[in-house]
Structures are given as structure tokens and as C-alpha cells.
Symmetry: C2
Subunit: 357 residues, 2 copies
């Protein structure tokens, strides 16, 4: 039940093989660092339809997954000592990427409406957020909070990195507008990925960046590794253009919805005396806050001994970053466990967290 991993067995392997084979070209030389034109326009259209992102092909930069998107943004905007605000709890690889570039990463708390904007340090040059489905809590950032964040960014001359890592999988209401499309001041860089909708191994993601940052981001991409592999880019462009991505996301969302239901039903039922479910209607994991006094490390160890990997919420907090003890709990991923196995794992979780004696 580890978080952040999709179900690789759902990947449409035969189709991908066919498209990739068709896209392989012998004559291919060094290519455009920004990415294949065909893929950039497919991504712009697709992110517009599925996520209301407002972009044309020129706004898109193809990356080797979201991680490279974060790294490129960091390379362009972070100087040694720059303050970067990251949600607390938050996505550790983002924190590490900015730290590696010399940033002073400052954790900023998240409440039931998302990032607490008034807690942002005024020197922050970059604010990293996951508004669709906060990582790891799962709460969406409310619309007023989104407006406040954009306003803050504009007043302080800061950039906002909107990491939309798994919001394609939605189980109920229509999602809120992304920061990217609410932004009127060119402050938001949108980070997208095909790791969750297709396969992490593909290493394909993208940035949608405001015009002011694009030349620097493309130059950084070129110096970093020149460009992404063109055959995979062409195959992905075809996959999107032929409507296969949309269909695939629809199919796997049904699969994940069943799993999401199983976990949330258990959390609201048999586990409710020990855990509080953080409401969330998207993505590949949910977070359960532990009741005071519950021995979370013990639960994790007992589950691991029973063969079930699960992560502590405490692991997503920056060490020493916040005042007082952070709330603890469990982050339950359902990308790598089937609906057939989930009841067993949830039953083990129930038993591992019961008061002894």
C-alpha cells in the first residue's frame, strides 16, 4: 500500500508497443530541447480538456517526468540561499530537488483548505504546491485559498509551482480550476506527468510555463540532457491524439475508484475509532490521521511483518521544520494493490492497529 505508484499492470502495453515501433526512426538526429511539436500540441489540448489548463503548444516543455520539471524550474529560479516554500507535510523529492540546488526550503503548514497562505515567508521566491490533491494529505486547495496564493505571489514577485501529479483520477465532483488557468500574472508553472496515467518507467512529463520563463527553461533542458527521446515522444503524441489516453484514464479510474471505495469505507467504518480519513476524491492514495496515543510506528512495523508496506504520515514532514509534534497517521496507496487483495490488507491494518490486550 505504498503511495505514489500506479498499477503498472494496467498499462496498455500492446498499444504502446505498436505506437513506439511505428515512431522509431533511424535518421533521428539531435532534436528540439522543448520537445516534439506534435507532443507539445497534444499535451496542450489534452491538459486543456482534462484539467482546464490554458496552453498552446508553445507553452509546453517536455521533460523526463515531473522530477525533471521540478529540477528545471529550480535551476532557473533558485539561487544559493533562495527561499523556497514547500507544503508541510509535502512531497520529499521536491524538497530534496530544491535543497540540492542551494535553496533554503521553508515548510509551510497545510490545513483543510490547503496551503496556509498567510504563513508563507515573505522572502519566498518559489512556492511549491499540490492544489488538486495535496501530497500526502489529499485535500484540495479551496478556491479562495487559490486566489489568495496567486495574489500573494503577484505581490511578492514569487513563482508558484503547481504539481498536478495524480489529479487525472477523480471519483466525484468536478475539480477546481488549476492555479495555472486562474493565474493572470504569469506566476504559475504547471508540472504534469504521465507517470501515473501511463507508467513511471516512461519518464515523460511536461511543464506549462509562462512566456517569461520559457527561454530559460528550454535552455536549462538543453544543458541538462538536450532533449527527451523522440520516438517515445512521438508515440505519446499519437496515443493522446488517437484518444487512447483519455480512454485509458477513464478505464483505470474505474479500477482505482473501486480501490478508493474499499479504503475509504474501511476508514469510515471498522477503522474509524483509530483513524480519521482526510477527505479526498482523487488520486492514488488517501491519508488516515491516527487518533492520539495510537502507536503508528508499531502499526507500520506489524503490517510490514505481515507483508504489507505502508508509509507513516510523519515521514512526509520536513525534519525539524515545524513547531511541536506533527500529526501522525498512515498514507495508504492503492496503486499497487488490487481490489481482490485490499480487503486482506485492510483487515491486517485493522488487526495491527487494535489496542492490545
Amino acid at each position: 500500500m505504498r503511495a505514489g505508484h500506479p498499477d503498472g499492470s494496467l498499462f496498455p502495453l500492446a498499444t504502446w508497443r505498436r505506437l513506439l515501433t511505428r515512431s522509431l526512426r533511424g535518421g533521428a538526429d539531435y532534436a528540439d530541447p522543448a520537445g516534439l511539436e506534435a507532443l507539445r500540441s497534444a499535451v496542450a489540448r489534452s491538459a486543456g480538456l482534462s484539467r482546464s489548463v490554458r496552453a498552446s503548444a508553445d507553452d509546453v516543455i517536455v521533460t523526463n517526468g515531473a522530477q525533471q520539471g521540478l529540477d528545471l524550474v529550480g535551476r532557473v529560479l533558485v539561487e544559493p540561499g533562495s527561499v523556497v516554500a514547500v507544503e508541510e507535510p509535502g512531497y520529499p523529492p521536491a524538497r530534496l530537488a530544491f535543497t540540492a540546488l542551494g535553496a533554503r526550503v521553508v515548510p509551510v503548514p497545510v490545513d483543510g483548505s490547503g496551503l496556509v497562505v498567510e504563513a508563507l515567508p515573505r522572502q519566498a521566491r518559489l512556492v511549491y504546491v499540490t492544489p488538486s490533491h495535496q501530497y500526502p494529505l489529499g485535500v484540495p486547495m479551496s478556491l479562495p485559498r487559490r486566489a489568495a496564493l496567486l495574489d500573494w505571489a503577484q505581490r511578492h514577485g514569487a513563482a508558484v509551482v503547481e504539481d498536478d501529479y495524480d489529479s487525472e483520477f477523480r471519483y466525484s465532483e468536478r475539480p477546481l480550476e488549476p492555479l495555472q488557468s486562474l493565474d493572470r500574472a504569469g506566476r504559475v508553472v504547471y508540472v504534469g506527468s504521465f507517470a501515473k496515467t501511463l507508467l513511471p518507467a516512461l519518464r515523460l512529463g511536461f511543464l506549462v510555463a509562462p512566456a517569461s520563463l520559457r527561454p530559460a527553461l528550454v535552455a536549462a533542458k538543453r544543458l541538462t540532457d538536450w532533449h527527451a527521446e523522440p520516438a517515445a515522444q512521438a508515440a505519446l503524441a499519437d496515443f493522446i491524439d488517437e484518444g487512447l489516453l483519455r480512454r485509458h484514464v477513464r478505464t483505470v479510474t474505474r479500477v482505482y475508484a473501486t480501490r478508493h471505495d474499499l479504503v475509504t469505507t474501511a476508514a469510515r467504518g471498522v477503522l474509524a475509532d483509530r483513524f480519521t480519513l482526510v477527505p479526498s476524491s482523487a488520486g492514488l492514495h488517501v491519508t488516515l490521521l491516527a487518533a492520539p496515543g495510537l502507536d503508528v510506528p508499531g502499526v507500520v512495523t506489524r503490517l510490514r511483518d505481515a507483508g504489507v508496506a505502508v508509509e507513516r504520515l510523519a515521514g512526509f514532514y520536513a525534519a525539524g521544520g515545524s513547531t511541536g509534534e506533527p500529526p501522525d497517521g498512515l498514507v495508504i496507496g492503492y496503486g499497487m494493490i488490487t481490489a481482490a487483495d485490499l480487503p486482506v490488507a485492510l483487515d491486517l491494518l485493522d488487526r495491527a492497529s487494535r489496542p492490545t490486550g
Copy 2:
């Protein structure tokens, strides 16, 4: 006749397609940032046989081409203000990559034996060299010069980046030992690539790094973009293990040798009154030094107007880096022009460089 580009039409497309298709796996999750074990051991064996590199699988880190290799080394070793010594003339993307990471890049002259070691600035933390086939001059670094460089690096606590970008194509004598295998002090990072032996578009390269640097390089790779695409890595491992790379390099070396002959014969013959060939017996380009007074920009323009792209040697010098006027000339690549077309292009070069009137 642009330099640095292999002939994409020689790429064994059908074979690669077969191997890649076989390697595609649906279940693939996030993978080892250092690279697939199978590829790392294939690279270690192959670089040992073809280039006398002394490495085991553990010494190898798979990268997205040589450019990412340079970037990772820079990320680990360069701090803002660090002095990085780069050959003059040299490879512009290396200079740019280190500069982008905050380095102060200092150009160090190259003579007929390679980098002039006594001209190295003593504060240099990193020295970037292309000893097999200096880019762009083409001269190999002599054995005494190699020993002097390694000695210098050890005395000054500097690292040496050995970029072995196209040395697989050799047209005469056995190559000298690479710095990597002469190094006894763990000072050398060897940068390899499959861009020239296979295809730039594949974006596959590797580092062979001393033990002291490996953990930091792997961590940098993970933060940069996690890992290279596993199916392509597996396909390349098979390609090497089945002896196909060796065979392919042998085949294309014959093709490039014919082209190399045509260019060097013209340089030593009809062009000899206007150009001096820099002796070179490897790679995909040669450099012609222009006789004093020859209007090199005019030659380049006239050739371009006739449909032949060729690069000026002057473009490979760091702007304002050296004292006095750098020597000028032409860098003639024969990766993208066939033996059938070369005589026409060389004839155009002859005409474009003849004294007018």
C-alpha cells in the same frame, strides 16, 4: 559537413526495434537511478574491451547521453565560483553546462600534444578534456601529457572529466590508454555516450566514476530525473551482450573511414596551399587550419550559399578567453554526408576558398 553528428541512416533500426519491443514491460515501476544492472555490466565489459576502461557494473552510472553526464558531474563538483578548466578550443555545450551551474570557466590552451597542463589555473576544481580526439582539433593527448595531467590533478585535489565522445571510430593505430585506466588516485570521471555509435536520439550515455563520487552522482541523477527509461536500457544491454554493438561499430567505422580518407586526401592535396590538416585518426570530423590571410567567414558563407553547412574553428573558442587572435579554420564533419556527396562538397570548398581574381 557539420561536426558532431553521426549518420543516422546507418542505425540498425530493425534490430533496435526488435530488442526494444522485447524489452517493453507493462509492470515497470520506478527503477534504479544508477541504471539497469544488466546495462551497467554490459557497458563495463564493452568499455573495457573497446576502450580499455577499467570498470565493473558498480562503477557505471547510466545517463541521458553525455550531456547529462557532464551536468551530473558539475552538480556534484561545481559550486558557485568554482574554477573549471576547459580545453581551448573546446566543446561549447560543456562550457555552457558548467557555467550554468555557477562555475568560472577558464579556457586552457591545447597544443599538438593536447591540453597544456602547465597552463592550468591552480584553483581549478575540475578539468574537462577530450584526450582521445580533442574536440574540435582532433589531436590525441600524448601519453606524457596524460601522465602530467593526472599528476597535476592529484597534487591539486582536482577532478578530471574525460569525455570520450567519438573515439570508437578509429582509422589507424591502436588508441592510447584512457586517463580513466591510467588513473591510480580516483581522480577521473569518464564520460561515454551511445549518441555517435548508435543514435543521438536514443539519449543514452554513461559515467564511469571513482567510488568516492558515485553516491553523490547517483543521488544527483535521482533528483534530476529519477532514472533513464528502462526498456531502452534493457534493449541496449541486449544489443551489447549479443555482440551487435561491436559489429555495428566495425561496420560503420569502415563507412566513416572512407569519408575520413576523402577529406584528408583533399586537405593534403588540392587544399594544401590554403589549409593545414590537423592530424587525427579517429572520430567523425577533422580540423583544417586556415593559412594566414584566408577569409574564413567568407568561405563559410560561400559554402552555405552553395548548400554546404560547415563550422568555423573560431566558434569553438571561448569568447574573450584567450590572448590574441585564435587561429581560425574549418571543422569538417563527415557524419552527415555520404562518400558519394563528399567529393562535390570538397570541390565546392576548394572553389569557395580559392583566391579571387
